[in-house]
Protein backbone atom coordinates (compact mmCIF):
# COMPACT_ATOMS: atom_id res chain seq x y z
CA UNK A 1 0.00 0.00 0.00
CA UNK A 2 1.47 3.33 -1.10
CA UNK A 3 0.02 5.57 1.59
CA UNK A 4 -0.27 4.73 5.24
CA UNK A 5 -4.03 5.23 5.58
CA UNK A 6 -4.02 4.26 9.21
CA UNK A 7 -1.59 7.05 10.13
CA UNK A 8 -3.59 9.59 8.14
CA UNK A 9 -6.78 8.53 9.87
CA UNK A 10 -5.14 9.07 13.21
CA UNK A 11 -3.97 12.49 12.12
CA UNK A 12 -7.49 13.41 11.02
CA UNK A 13 -8.89 12.40 14.37
CA UNK A 14 -6.35 14.51 16.24
CA UNK A 15 -6.96 17.57 14.05
CA UNK A 16 -10.73 17.18 14.48
CA UNK A 17 -10.22 17.23 18.24
CA UNK A 18 -7.98 20.29 18.05
CA UNK A 19 -10.58 22.03 15.95
CA UNK A 20 -13.23 21.36 18.57
CA UNK A 21 -11.02 22.93 21.21
CA UNK A 22 -10.17 26.04 19.20
CA UNK A 23 -13.83 26.48 18.30
CA UNK A 24 -14.80 26.29 21.96
CA UNK A 25 -12.12 28.82 22.89
CA UNK A 26 -13.35 31.10 20.14
CA UNK A 27 -16.87 31.05 21.53
CA UNK A 28 -15.69 31.58 25.10
CA UNK A 29 -13.56 34.55 24.04
CA UNK A 30 -16.45 36.03 22.08
CA UNK A 31 -18.71 35.97 25.12
CA UNK A 32 -15.98 37.37 27.38
CA UNK A 33 -15.29 40.12 24.86
CA UNK A 34 -18.94 41.10 24.82
CA UNK A 35 -18.93 41.32 28.61
CA UNK A 36 -15.74 43.37 28.69
CA UNK A 37 -17.05 45.76 26.04
CA UNK A 38 -20.27 46.21 27.99
CA UNK A 39 -18.17 46.97 31.09
CA UNK A 40 -16.16 49.58 29.16
CA UNK A 41 -19.34 51.30 28.05
CA UNK A 42 -20.87 51.11 31.52
CA UNK A 43 -17.79 52.69 33.08
CA UNK A 44 -17.86 55.78 30.89
CA UNK A 45 -20.59 57.86 32.58
CA UNK A 46 -18.65 57.92 35.86
CA UNK A 47 -15.51 59.29 34.22
CA UNK A 48 -17.55 61.85 32.33
CA UNK A 49 -19.41 63.04 35.38
CA UNK A 50 -16.26 63.15 37.48
CA UNK A 51 -14.53 65.23 34.81
CA UNK A 52 -17.39 67.66 34.51
CA UNK A 53 -17.40 68.06 38.28
CA UNK A 54 -13.65 68.70 38.26
CA UNK A 55 -14.12 71.19 35.44
CA UNK A 56 -16.60 73.12 37.55
CA UNK A 57 -14.13 73.23 40.42
CA UNK A 58 -11.24 74.39 38.28
CA UNK A 59 -13.23 77.27 36.92
CA UNK A 60 -13.47 78.80 40.35
CA UNK A 61 -10.00 80.24 39.87
CA UNK A 62 -8.21 77.82 42.13
CA UNK A 63 -4.56 77.41 41.37
CA UNK A 64 -3.55 74.15 39.74
CA UNK A 65 -3.91 71.14 42.00
CA UNK A 66 -0.67 69.18 42.55
CA UNK A 67 -2.15 66.26 40.65
CA UNK A 68 -2.87 68.37 37.58
CA UNK A 69 0.30 70.51 37.64
CA UNK A 70 2.73 69.70 34.89
CA UNK A 71 6.32 69.33 36.06
CA UNK A 72 8.81 71.51 34.18
CA UNK A 73 11.27 68.65 33.86
CA UNK A 74 10.45 64.96 33.60
CA UNK A 75 13.21 63.00 35.28
CA UNK A 76 11.54 59.77 36.24
CA UNK A 77 8.54 57.97 34.82
CA UNK A 78 6.30 55.25 36.16
CA UNK A 79 4.71 53.15 33.45
CA UNK A 80 1.81 50.76 33.99
CA UNK A 81 2.12 48.00 31.43
CA UNK A 82 -1.02 46.01 30.67
CA UNK A 83 -0.82 42.66 28.94
CA UNK A 84 -2.68 39.38 29.22
CA UNK A 85 -1.94 36.58 31.63
CA UNK A 86 -2.28 33.91 29.02
CA UNK A 87 -1.15 33.43 25.46
CA UNK A 88 -3.00 32.14 22.39
CA UNK A 89 -4.19 35.63 21.53
CA UNK A 90 -2.34 36.38 18.31
CA UNK A 91 -0.20 39.49 18.26
CA UNK A 92 -1.95 41.13 21.19
CA UNK A 93 0.96 41.08 23.64
CA UNK A 94 3.66 41.51 21.02
CA UNK A 95 2.00 44.68 19.79
CA UNK A 96 1.64 46.36 23.16
CA UNK A 97 5.16 45.30 24.17
CA UNK A 98 6.56 46.84 21.00
CA UNK A 99 4.92 50.14 21.97
CA UNK A 100 6.37 49.77 25.48
CA UNK A 101 9.81 49.16 24.04
CA UNK A 102 9.55 52.27 21.84
CA UNK A 103 8.42 54.26 24.85
CA UNK A 104 11.43 53.17 26.90
CA UNK A 105 13.70 54.20 24.03
CA UNK A 106 12.03 57.63 23.86
CA UNK A 107 13.01 58.39 27.48
CA UNK A 108 16.47 58.81 29.02
CA UNK A 109 18.00 55.45 29.84
CA UNK A 110 16.97 53.97 33.16
CA UNK A 111 14.39 56.67 33.85
CA UNK A 112 11.34 54.46 33.40
CA UNK A 113 10.10 52.23 36.21
CA UNK A 114 7.48 49.63 35.43
CA UNK A 115 4.42 48.34 37.20
CA UNK A 116 3.23 45.27 35.38
CA UNK A 117 -0.32 44.02 35.07
CA UNK A 118 -0.53 40.58 33.52
CA UNK A 119 2.06 37.82 33.52
CA UNK A 120 3.40 38.59 30.05
CA UNK A 121 4.24 42.15 31.09
CA UNK A 122 6.07 40.93 34.16
CA UNK A 123 8.08 38.42 32.12
CA UNK A 124 8.93 41.06 29.52
CA UNK A 125 10.15 43.62 32.05
CA UNK A 126 12.29 40.95 33.69
CA UNK A 127 13.74 39.75 30.41
CA UNK A 128 14.62 43.31 29.46
CA UNK A 129 16.21 43.82 32.88
CA UNK A 130 14.18 46.99 33.40
CA UNK A 131 13.26 48.18 36.88
CA UNK A 132 10.04 46.48 37.99
CA UNK A 133 8.45 48.35 40.90
CA UNK A 134 5.26 46.39 41.26
CA UNK A 135 3.54 43.45 39.68
CA UNK A 136 -0.22 43.13 39.92
CA UNK A 137 -1.93 39.81 39.50
CA UNK A 138 -5.41 38.62 38.86
CA UNK A 139 -6.63 41.75 37.11
CA UNK A 140 -6.45 40.39 33.61
CA UNK A 141 -8.50 37.32 34.37
CA UNK A 142 -12.14 36.85 33.49
CA UNK A 143 -14.26 39.38 31.66
CA UNK A 144 -14.43 42.41 33.97
CA UNK A 145 -12.76 42.80 37.37
CA UNK A 146 -14.45 44.93 40.05
CA UNK A 147 -13.28 48.56 40.14
CA UNK A 148 -12.01 48.11 43.68
CA UNK A 149 -9.19 45.96 42.32
CA UNK A 150 -7.72 48.98 40.54
CA UNK A 151 -7.53 51.06 43.71
CA UNK A 152 -4.07 49.87 44.80
CA UNK A 153 -2.72 50.74 41.35
CA UNK A 154 -4.14 54.24 41.49
CA UNK A 155 -2.75 54.62 44.99
CA UNK A 156 0.72 53.63 43.84
CA UNK A 157 0.54 56.15 41.01
CA UNK A 158 -0.76 58.97 43.19
CA UNK A 159 1.68 58.47 46.06
CA UNK A 160 4.66 58.10 43.75
CA UNK A 161 3.70 61.24 41.89
CA UNK A 162 2.97 63.39 44.93
CA UNK A 163 6.18 62.29 46.66
CA UNK A 164 7.94 63.38 43.45
CA UNK A 165 9.42 59.92 43.02
CA UNK A 166 7.98 60.27 39.56
CA UNK A 167 7.32 63.32 37.41
CA UNK A 168 4.87 61.54 35.19
CA UNK A 169 2.82 58.37 35.22
CA UNK A 170 1.72 56.69 32.00
CA UNK A 171 -0.39 53.68 31.13
CA UNK A 172 0.63 51.47 28.24
CA UNK A 173 -2.46 49.56 27.23
CA UNK A 174 -4.45 48.40 24.24
CA UNK A 175 -7.31 50.56 23.09
CA UNK A 176 -10.33 48.62 21.91
CA UNK A 177 -11.38 50.32 18.69
CA UNK A 178 -13.51 47.50 17.35
CA UNK A 179 -13.57 43.71 17.51
CA UNK A 180 -11.13 43.52 14.61
CA UNK A 181 -8.98 46.55 15.41
CA UNK A 182 -7.11 47.15 18.66
CA UNK A 183 -4.48 49.82 19.03
CA UNK A 184 -1.75 49.79 21.66
CA UNK A 185 -1.33 53.25 23.19
CA UNK A 186 0.69 55.16 25.74
CA UNK A 187 -1.69 57.27 27.78
CA UNK A 188 -0.47 59.91 30.23
CA UNK A 189 -2.20 59.38 33.56
CA UNK A 190 -0.52 61.89 35.87
CA UNK A 191 -0.39 64.85 35.83
CA UNK A 192 -4.09 64.58 35.05
CA UNK A 193 -4.95 66.09 31.75
CA UNK A 194 -8.34 66.38 30.26
CA UNK A 195 -7.05 65.78 26.72
CA UNK A 196 -5.73 62.47 27.94
CA UNK A 197 -9.19 61.16 28.67
CA UNK A 198 -10.08 57.86 27.08
CA UNK A 199 -12.19 57.59 23.98
CA UNK A 200 -15.28 59.74 23.97
CA UNK A 201 -13.67 63.02 24.93
CA UNK A 202 -15.23 65.19 22.27
CA UNK A 203 -18.74 64.20 23.23
CA UNK A 204 -18.41 65.09 26.85
CA UNK A 205 -16.69 68.42 26.38
CA UNK A 206 -19.70 69.86 24.67
CA UNK A 207 -21.78 68.49 27.45
CA UNK A 208 -19.90 70.50 30.06
CA UNK A 209 -20.14 73.85 28.33
CA UNK A 210 -23.66 74.79 29.50
CA UNK A 211 -22.81 73.83 33.07
CA UNK A 212 -19.84 76.18 33.10
CA UNK A 213 -22.10 79.20 33.21
CA UNK A 214 -23.55 78.07 36.49
CA UNK A 215 -20.16 77.50 38.06
CA UNK A 216 -20.58 80.22 40.63
CA UNK A 217 -23.87 78.92 41.93
CA UNK A 218 -22.62 75.80 43.66
CA UNK A 219 -21.87 75.67 47.33
CA UNK A 220 -18.98 73.41 48.22
CA UNK A 221 -18.89 71.57 51.47
CA UNK A 222 -16.57 71.79 53.30
CA UNK A 223 -14.62 73.75 50.62
CA UNK A 224 -13.71 73.38 46.94
CA UNK A 225 -10.11 72.38 47.72
CA UNK A 226 -10.97 69.33 49.75
CA UNK A 227 -13.60 68.23 47.24
CA UNK A 228 -10.95 68.43 44.52
CA UNK A 229 -8.46 66.56 46.73
CA UNK A 230 -10.89 63.69 46.99
CA UNK A 231 -12.11 63.87 43.42
CA UNK A 232 -8.90 63.90 41.39
CA UNK A 233 -7.50 60.58 42.66
CA UNK A 234 -10.83 59.02 41.76
CA UNK A 235 -10.55 60.33 38.24
CA UNK A 236 -7.11 58.74 37.96
CA UNK A 237 -8.62 55.54 39.31
CA UNK A 238 -11.45 55.64 36.79
CA UNK A 239 -9.00 56.19 33.95
CA UNK A 240 -6.85 53.26 35.04
CA UNK A 241 -9.93 51.10 35.38
CA UNK A 242 -11.01 52.00 31.88
CA UNK A 243 -7.55 51.15 30.53
CA UNK A 244 -7.78 47.74 32.21
CA UNK A 245 -11.22 47.11 30.71
CA UNK A 246 -10.15 48.26 27.26
CA UNK A 247 -7.12 45.96 27.41
CA UNK A 248 -9.31 43.07 28.50
CA UNK A 249 -11.77 43.65 25.69
CA UNK A 250 -8.85 43.82 23.27
CA UNK A 251 -7.30 40.65 24.63
CA UNK A 252 -10.49 38.67 24.28
CA UNK A 253 -11.19 39.91 20.79
CA UNK A 254 -7.58 39.19 19.74
CA UNK A 255 -7.92 35.69 21.14
CA UNK A 256 -11.25 35.23 19.44
CA UNK A 257 -9.71 36.15 16.10
CA UNK A 258 -6.65 33.95 16.65
CA UNK A 259 -8.88 31.01 17.54
CA UNK A 260 -11.10 31.64 14.56
CA UNK A 261 -8.04 31.49 12.30
CA UNK A 262 -6.90 28.31 14.01
CA UNK A 263 -10.34 26.74 13.55
CA UNK A 264 -10.34 27.66 9.86
CA UNK A 265 -6.82 26.30 9.42
CA UNK A 266 -7.85 23.06 11.13
CA UNK A 267 -10.84 22.75 8.79
CA UNK A 268 -8.55 23.20 5.77
CA UNK A 269 -6.14 20.64 7.12
CA UNK A 270 -8.92 18.14 7.68
CA UNK A 271 -10.09 18.59 4.07
CA UNK A 272 -6.54 18.07 2.87
CA UNK A 273 -5.99 14.97 4.95
CA UNK A 274 -9.35 13.49 3.91
CA UNK A 275 -8.39 13.92 0.27
CA UNK A 276 -5.02 12.20 0.80
CA UNK A 277 -6.71 9.46 2.80
CA UNK A 278 -9.31 8.79 0.11
CA UNK A 279 -6.67 8.83 -2.60
CA UNK A 280 -4.65 6.30 -0.65
CA UNK A 281 -7.68 4.12 -0.05
CA UNK A 282 -8.65 4.24 -3.72
CA UNK A 283 -5.08 3.45 -4.77
CA UNK A 284 -5.07 0.44 -2.49
CA UNK A 285 -8.37 -0.82 -3.93
CA UNK A 286 -7.14 -0.31 -7.48
CA UNK A 287 -3.98 -2.16 -6.70
CA UNK A 288 -5.88 -5.05 -5.15
CA UNK A 289 -8.13 -5.34 -8.18
CA UNK A 290 -5.10 -5.25 -10.43
CA UNK A 291 -3.51 -8.03 -8.43
CA UNK A 292 -6.65 -10.18 -8.46
CA UNK A 293 -7.23 -9.79 -12.15
CA UNK A 294 -3.54 -10.42 -12.83
CA UNK A 295 -3.80 -13.58 -10.78
CA UNK A 296 -6.92 -14.65 -12.64
CA UNK A 297 -5.31 -13.92 -15.96
CA UNK A 298 -2.30 -15.99 -14.96
CA UNK A 299 -4.58 -18.95 -14.04
CA UNK A 300 -6.66 -18.63 -17.23
CA UNK A 301 -3.55 -18.80 -19.37
CA UNK A 302 -2.50 -22.16 -17.99
Amino acid sequence: MGVNTKAINRRIKSVVNTKKITKAMELVSASKMRKAVAAVLASRPYAQMAWSLAGRLERRGEEAHPLTAKRPEVKRTLAFLLTSDRGLCGGFNAQVLRVASDFVKSRPEGSVDFASIGRRAEAWVRRRKLPLKASFEGLMAGAAPPATKVRPLARLAKDGFLKTDYDEVVVIYTDFVSSILQKPRVKPLLPLRRDADLGEVQGHRQEIAPNAKMAGEYAFEPDPGSVLDALLPRIAEAQLYQAVLESLASEHSARMLAMKNATDAAADMIDDLRLTFNQGRQAAITQEIAEISAGRAALANR
Binding site: A39, A42, Y46, L53, P222, V227, E237, Y241
Partner: protein
Protein backbone atom coordinates in the same frame (compact mmCIF):
# COMPACT_ATOMS: atom_id res chain seq x y z
CA UNK B 1 -45.22 66.41 44.69
CA UNK B 2 -42.27 67.70 42.71
CA UNK B 3 -39.72 65.10 41.78
CA UNK B 4 -35.94 64.99 41.48
CA UNK B 5 -33.91 63.58 38.60
CA UNK B 6 -31.61 61.19 40.37
CA UNK B 7 -28.53 59.51 38.94
CA UNK B 8 -26.27 57.17 40.89
CA UNK B 9 -23.03 56.17 39.19
CA UNK B 10 -20.07 54.00 40.22
CA UNK B 11 -16.85 53.46 38.27
CA UNK B 12 -18.36 50.20 37.09
CA UNK B 13 -21.79 51.28 35.92
CA UNK B 14 -24.77 53.53 36.28
CA UNK B 15 -26.62 51.94 39.17
CA UNK B 16 -29.76 54.03 39.11
CA UNK B 17 -31.23 56.70 36.86
CA UNK B 18 -34.72 57.56 37.87
CA UNK B 19 -37.11 60.14 39.27
CA UNK B 20 -37.35 60.21 43.05
CA UNK B 21 -39.08 62.18 45.79
CA UNK B 22 -36.14 62.55 48.11
CA UNK B 23 -32.69 61.21 48.86
CA UNK B 24 -30.78 61.26 52.17
CA UNK B 25 -27.00 60.90 52.00
CA UNK B 26 -24.34 60.80 54.71
CA UNK B 27 -21.80 63.54 53.90
CA UNK B 28 -18.66 64.62 55.70
CA UNK B 29 -20.68 67.52 57.13
CA UNK B 30 -23.54 65.37 58.36
CA UNK B 31 -26.48 63.74 56.64
CA UNK B 32 -28.28 65.83 54.08
CA UNK B 33 -31.69 65.19 52.62
CA UNK B 34 -32.24 66.45 49.12
CA UNK B 35 -35.72 67.35 47.94
CA UNK B 36 -36.66 69.08 44.71
CA UNK B 37 -35.39 72.64 44.20
CA UNK B 38 -32.54 72.09 46.62
CA UNK B 39 -29.74 74.65 46.43
CA UNK B 40 -26.82 73.63 44.18
CA UNK B 41 -24.22 71.98 46.35
CA UNK B 42 -21.21 69.66 46.05
CA UNK B 43 -20.09 67.55 49.00
CA UNK B 44 -18.04 64.40 49.62
CA UNK B 45 -20.08 61.51 50.97
CA UNK B 46 -19.10 59.01 53.62
CA UNK B 47 -19.48 55.28 53.71
CA UNK B 48 -22.91 54.47 55.01
CA UNK B 49 -26.45 53.95 53.91
CA UNK B 50 -28.34 56.17 51.56
CA UNK B 51 -32.12 56.35 51.70
CA UNK B 52 -34.02 56.89 48.47
CA UNK B 53 -37.75 57.56 48.41
CA UNK B 54 -39.04 56.62 44.99
CA UNK B 55 -41.72 58.28 42.90
CA UNK B 56 -44.43 56.12 44.47
CA UNK B 57 -43.20 56.68 48.01
CA UNK B 58 -41.30 53.44 48.50
CA UNK B 59 -38.15 53.85 50.54
CA UNK B 60 -35.12 51.79 49.61
CA UNK B 61 -31.68 51.57 51.15
CA UNK B 62 -28.45 51.69 49.25
CA UNK B 63 -25.08 50.93 50.79
CA UNK B 64 -22.42 53.37 49.57
CA UNK B 65 -18.73 53.64 50.38
CA UNK B 66 -17.54 57.17 49.78
CA UNK B 67 -17.93 59.45 46.79
CA UNK B 68 -19.58 62.76 45.94
CA UNK B 69 -23.01 64.21 45.87
CA UNK B 70 -23.77 67.03 43.47
CA UNK B 71 -27.06 68.86 43.40
CA UNK B 72 -27.52 70.74 40.14
CA UNK B 73 -29.93 73.59 39.66
CA UNK B 74 -33.24 72.37 38.28
CA UNK B 75 -33.74 69.50 40.73
CA UNK B 76 -31.03 67.30 39.33
CA UNK B 77 -29.08 65.11 41.74
CA UNK B 78 -25.92 63.28 40.78
CA UNK B 79 -24.07 60.89 43.05
CA UNK B 80 -20.66 59.51 42.20
CA UNK B 81 -20.12 56.59 44.54
CA UNK B 82 -17.07 54.35 44.88
CA UNK B 83 -19.39 51.40 45.31
CA UNK B 84 -23.15 51.25 45.63
CA UNK B 85 -25.31 48.27 46.33
CA UNK B 86 -29.01 48.22 46.80
CA UNK B 87 -30.37 46.29 49.73
CA UNK B 88 -32.28 43.99 47.37
CA UNK B 89 -29.09 43.47 45.42
CA UNK B 90 -27.28 42.50 48.56
CA UNK B 91 -29.93 39.89 49.24
CA UNK B 92 -29.69 38.68 45.69
CA UNK B 93 -25.95 38.55 46.01
CA UNK B 94 -26.21 36.37 49.08
CA UNK B 95 -28.56 34.09 47.17
CA UNK B 96 -26.24 34.01 44.20
CA UNK B 97 -23.31 33.16 46.41
CA UNK B 98 -25.32 30.36 47.92
CA UNK B 99 -26.12 29.11 44.42
CA UNK B 100 -22.48 29.30 43.45
CA UNK B 101 -21.51 27.31 46.51
CA UNK B 102 -24.16 24.72 45.79
CA UNK B 103 -22.92 24.41 42.24
CA UNK B 104 -19.35 24.07 43.41
CA UNK B 105 -20.38 21.29 45.75
CA UNK B 106 -22.28 19.52 42.98
CA UNK B 107 -19.34 19.90 40.67
CA UNK B 108 -17.08 18.38 43.25
CA UNK B 109 -19.36 15.41 43.41
CA UNK B 110 -19.33 15.12 39.65
CA UNK B 111 -15.58 15.39 39.73
CA UNK B 112 -15.51 12.57 42.22
CA UNK B 113 -17.74 10.52 40.00
CA UNK B 114 -15.52 11.26 37.08
CA UNK B 115 -12.50 10.21 39.05
CA UNK B 116 -14.35 7.09 40.10
CA UNK B 117 -15.22 6.34 36.46
CA UNK B 118 -11.64 6.94 35.44
CA UNK B 119 -10.34 4.69 38.16
CA UNK B 120 -12.82 1.98 37.19
CA UNK B 121 -11.80 2.26 33.57
CA UNK B 122 -8.12 2.03 34.33
CA UNK B 123 -8.75 -0.91 36.62
CA UNK B 124 -10.66 -2.67 33.85
CA UNK B 125 -7.84 -1.92 31.47
CA UNK B 126 -5.27 -3.39 33.81
CA UNK B 127 -7.41 -6.47 34.40
CA UNK B 128 -7.75 -6.99 30.66
CA UNK B 129 -4.00 -6.73 30.28
CA UNK B 130 -3.49 -9.20 33.04
CA UNK B 131 -5.89 -11.61 31.35
CA UNK B 132 -4.02 -11.32 28.07
CA UNK B 133 -0.72 -11.88 29.75
CA UNK B 134 -2.04 -14.97 31.54
CA UNK B 135 -3.50 -16.39 28.33
CA UNK B 136 -0.26 -15.79 26.53
CA UNK B 137 1.63 -17.59 29.27
CA UNK B 138 -0.68 -20.57 29.32
CA UNK B 139 -0.42 -20.77 25.52
CA UNK B 140 3.32 -20.76 25.78
CA UNK B 141 2.95 -23.45 28.39
CA UNK B 142 0.91 -25.58 25.98
CA UNK B 143 3.44 -25.01 23.27
CA UNK B 144 6.16 -26.20 25.50
CA UNK B 145 4.34 -29.36 26.60
CA UNK B 146 4.50 -31.61 23.58
Amino acid sequence: MKLLDFELTTPERTVLRTKVRQVSVPTTEGEITVLSDHLPIVAPILAGEMRVVSEDGIESLIAVSGGFVTVHPGSRLEILADTAERAEELDLKAIEEAHARAEAVLKEKIDDEERQAEATASLARELARLKVVRKHRSKQGFQRLP
